[in-house]
């Protein structure tokens, strides 16, 4: 099979069974790869109602047909599972060099099943597959473990690893790789931890064959040249996503103090410009990337040096703004803490910010925090709470389940400012004055995540107070952007360097020898979107309804406190109007269920 590895590797940790299956043709033609594969496989293979942290859950690791090829940004991999945060389909995308290495080892997909009775790691060296003892890595930080495994196995191994937070099943534990890349969202690190799987180490030496190598060489060179000559390229190389921090504050869309505000008064102290001067030591790219958004940084604290990749924009927003950490060295250190513990900085930041607001409002006090003043802006308080969470100690045990569950247990109105949708914490855009962005968070298939439809620029372009018509662009984006996750490439070359979308059908056709049009890719992406909706509905049956798509009460109860969007909030009826229009455009009923006609059209 051209471009693909052609194989699925299935590993059952309960009985140590390892099997290799051919990649089914129907899966390839209908779902392309990456999150398309994981969505279909999990929908088919998981029983309804299973415990995400139990033996019946599975983790699907899926590359795409373009992963590992000579294509800009060809280094993206999907981790997917039933999410412990949302109790539905969850996935998270990771860059670095793992997707490519899995392909060079001959596989497209790895499916991990069961639970090991002792800590293990999965060793993959081409066709040599072993489940190995991980005793010596237990309890070690994610960065430390990756370093140890590279020392033990050899530098050419690419490694995915969880930290203590994953081992302790923190519901927003991430999977880390390449000293700074994470599959952060939806808590799949906790699923790995529940399976007693500390790491996956991969080495591959096989070649990927493509249908037309000469054409790939020609088109690939053009695509790289287009990226490099774009005027924004230099800024991305220098600052990466941190270049967005200034802009986001100017737009009043920077989550601040648990989304009490959309503007952080100290933003200029944590921006990309400051990083360039103070912390960045190197630019770091994922496999095949011409823009290298990874900013490898160094900070000093108590006479010790700490190295970490970041903070990227989301970390700046969710820890910098949302926890009010307004100093680049503190923020870099906070990033290091989360990376080493194996905590998603988005949800982790949101959870800490939620706890800080609870403390501010007297819902929790010093007795709960172990004597620490849990104040916004205090790096020591942040570190303390992250340590408690990663060990599930004291209040950390409550917070380790995420803001939704924590608020249900704490009560006292805290659910009104528990900033999540469907159990997944909202990522780094304040959207009370950005209806398309708000709708995108409300309807994102894995819970409130920005990457499926980064629609805030659309709000700014067509009017931030306009509600009608916003669904169209949101749906368009929700179909275009996941295509990158299906192909196994990064979307930022398209989003930020305006690499033409026309390249993608061309690239997939010359590499796979198939014949897709952009419309067919979009159709396939819509199929995946609806399939994930069916997963959610299947899990919740009669309880399911449009309330699953509602944002937290803060969005319609509290106005933004300061900055360019001060005073903005959204009326409840406008939220329903957004949903009415969205459901109708999607071919879903009033309760947000896909109609039989829609499903038929999509072949579901």
């Amino acid at each position: 099979m051209f471009a693909y590895g052609g194989k699925i590797l299935r590993v059952n940790l309960s009985n140590d069974k390892i099997s290799i299956e051919p990649l089914p043709e129907k899966l390839v033609s209908d779902y392309i790869g990456g999150r398309g594969f994981s969505a279909r496989i999990l929908y088919d293979e998981l029983k309804t109602g299973i415990d995400p942290l139990g033996a019946e859950n599975k983790i699907v690791v899926a590359s795409g047909p373009l992963s590992g090829l000579f294509v800009p940004g060809a280094g993206k991999l999907t981790f997917a599972s039933k999410s412990p945060a949302t109790n539905s389909y969850g996935d998270s995308n990771i860059g670095g060099h793992l997707a490519s290495e899995i392909k060079y080892a001959g596989y497209d997909v790895i499916i991990i099943e069961g639970i090991s009775d002792k800590p293990v790691y999965l060793y993959i060296n081409n066709d040599k597959i072993e489940i190995r003892d991980a005793g010596k890595y237990c309890g070690k930080g994610a960065i430390t473990t990756e370093e140890m495994l590279k020392r033990d196995l050899g530098k050419e191994f690419e490694i995915a690893v969880i930290g203590p937070a994953g081992e302790n099943k923190v519901k927003f534990a991430c999977i880390s790789h390449d000293f700074g890349r994470q599959a952060g969202r939806t808590g799949i690190g906790a699923v790995m931890g529940a399976k007693n799987l500390k790491a996956i180490a991969v080495r591959g030496t096989l070649s990927l064959k493509v249908a037309d190598p000469d054409k790939l060489l020609e088109i690939g060179k053009k695509a790289f040249a287009d990226c490099i000559k774009h005027p924004a390229w230099k800024l991305w190389l220098d600052q990466g996503t941190a270049s967005v921090t200034n802009w986001s504050n100017q737009q009043g869309s920077f989550p601040t103090r648990n989304f009490q505000s959309g503007f952080f008064e100290d933003y200029q102290k944590i921006s990309g410009d400051v990083m360039l001067k103070e912390t960045i030591v190197n630019n770091k790219a994922c496999f095949g990337c011409p823009m290298a958004c990874g900013k490898y940084a160094r900070t000093r604290r108590n006479n010790k040096e700490y190295y970490v990749e970041g903070p990227e924009y989301e970390t700046a927003a969710m820890i910098g703004g949302d926890c009010a950490i307004g100093n680049i060295h503190d923020l870099t250190y906070a990033n290091y803490i989360c990376d080493e513990l194996g905590i998603d900085t988005i949800s982790g930041g949101s959870v800490a910010a939620f706890a800080m607001e609870c403390y501010e409002k007297g819902i929790i006090d010093k007795k709960d925090t172990g004597g620490v003043e849990l104040k916004f802006g205090d790096i020591r308080a942040f570190e303390h709470i992250m340590n408690l969470i990663s060990r599930r100690e004291g209040i950390g045990n409550l917070l380790a389940d995420g803001v939704k569950v924590a608020a249900e247990k704490l009560g006292k109105g805290s659910a009104r400012f528990a900033m999540h949708v469907k159990g997944l914490e909202i990522s780094g855009y304040e959207s009370r004055r950005a209806p398309a962005m708000l709708l995108s968070y409300m309807t994102c298939d894995i819970g409130a995540h920005h990457n499926r439809a980064w629609a805030i620029t659309h709000d700014i372009a067509v009017g931030r107070d306009v509600f009608a018509g916003k669904s169209k662009r949101v749906i368009e984006l929700q179909h275009i952007r996941p295509i990158f996750d299906m192909l196994g490439t990064c979307r930022l070359q398209w989003v930020e360097l305006e690499l033409s979308l026309d390249y993608y059908p061309q690239l997939i056709n010359v590499t796979t020898g198939r014949n897709y049009t952009m419309d067919e890719l979009l159709h396939s992406s819509e199929r995946v979107w609806n399939l994930n909706r069916l997963f959610l509905i299947r899990e919740h049956k009669d309880n399911f309804g449009r309330h699953f798509d509602y944002p937290p009460a803060r969005v319609y109860e509290n106005g933004v406190q300061t900055g360019p969007t001060a005073g903005s909030k959204v009326k409840k009826e406008d939220i329903d109007k957004l949903l009415d229009e969205y459901y109708q455009m999607r071919g879903w009923d009033k309760n947000g269920r896909p109609t039989p006609e829609k499903l038929k059209e999509l072949g579901l």
């Binding site: 096989l206 060489l217 190197n282 290298a292 190295y307």
Partner: protein, 149 residues
């Protein structure tokens, strides 16, 4: 004339490795490329490309004299293992795959460790100065150094 690097700019993207294998072998495999990237993480967090500087030590140690600096480059001469394309660019030591007996002496003796053996062939992989990697290296790490100029 040889390929040189400004290592401080390298982002570890490995695009150079993919194009090297695609151009020479018509397939994609960074382990079938004539250069490599060392990475030292988490500390100090640097990438170090290793490339051939055409020093010619490989030619001097080859027991069957399979490696040479052709006086007049032959564009179609096979210099690399497998389905190799290109070859014989000015200044490049190249391997005659007919003569090579696969002993691996050059691989062992290469001072920069940039001659590579892959299980697909017994003939080592060596930089032939095709220059394909240079324009696709976005940060501009790779360039041609010509000591005569």
């Amino acid at each position: 004339m040889y390929l040189d690097v400004d290592a401080t700019k390298c982002t570890g993207c490995r695009v150079c490795l993919t194009i090297c294998s695609l151009y020479h072998f018509k397939e994609i495999n960074p382990k079938k490329a004539a250069l490599t990237i060392d990475a030292t993480f988490p500390k100090p967090g640097k990438y170090e490309p290793r490339v051939c500087n055409q020093c010619g030590i490989c030619a001097s140690v080859c027991p069957v004299e399979a490696i040479s600096l052709p006086a007049r480059p032959q564009p179609d001469q096979a210099v690399l293992a497998g389905d190799a394309r290109s070859g014989g660019k000015e200044g490049a030591y190249i391997i005659d795959s007919e003569k090579c007996n696969g002993c691996g002496e050059c691989v062992r003796e290469c001072p920069t460790q940039v001659m590579f053996l892959h299980e697909d062939s017994s003939v080592p992989i060596k930089c032939d100065l095709c220059k394909e990697c240079i324009p696709v290296c976005a940060p501009g790490v790779l360039f041609i150094k010509d000591e005569n100029k």
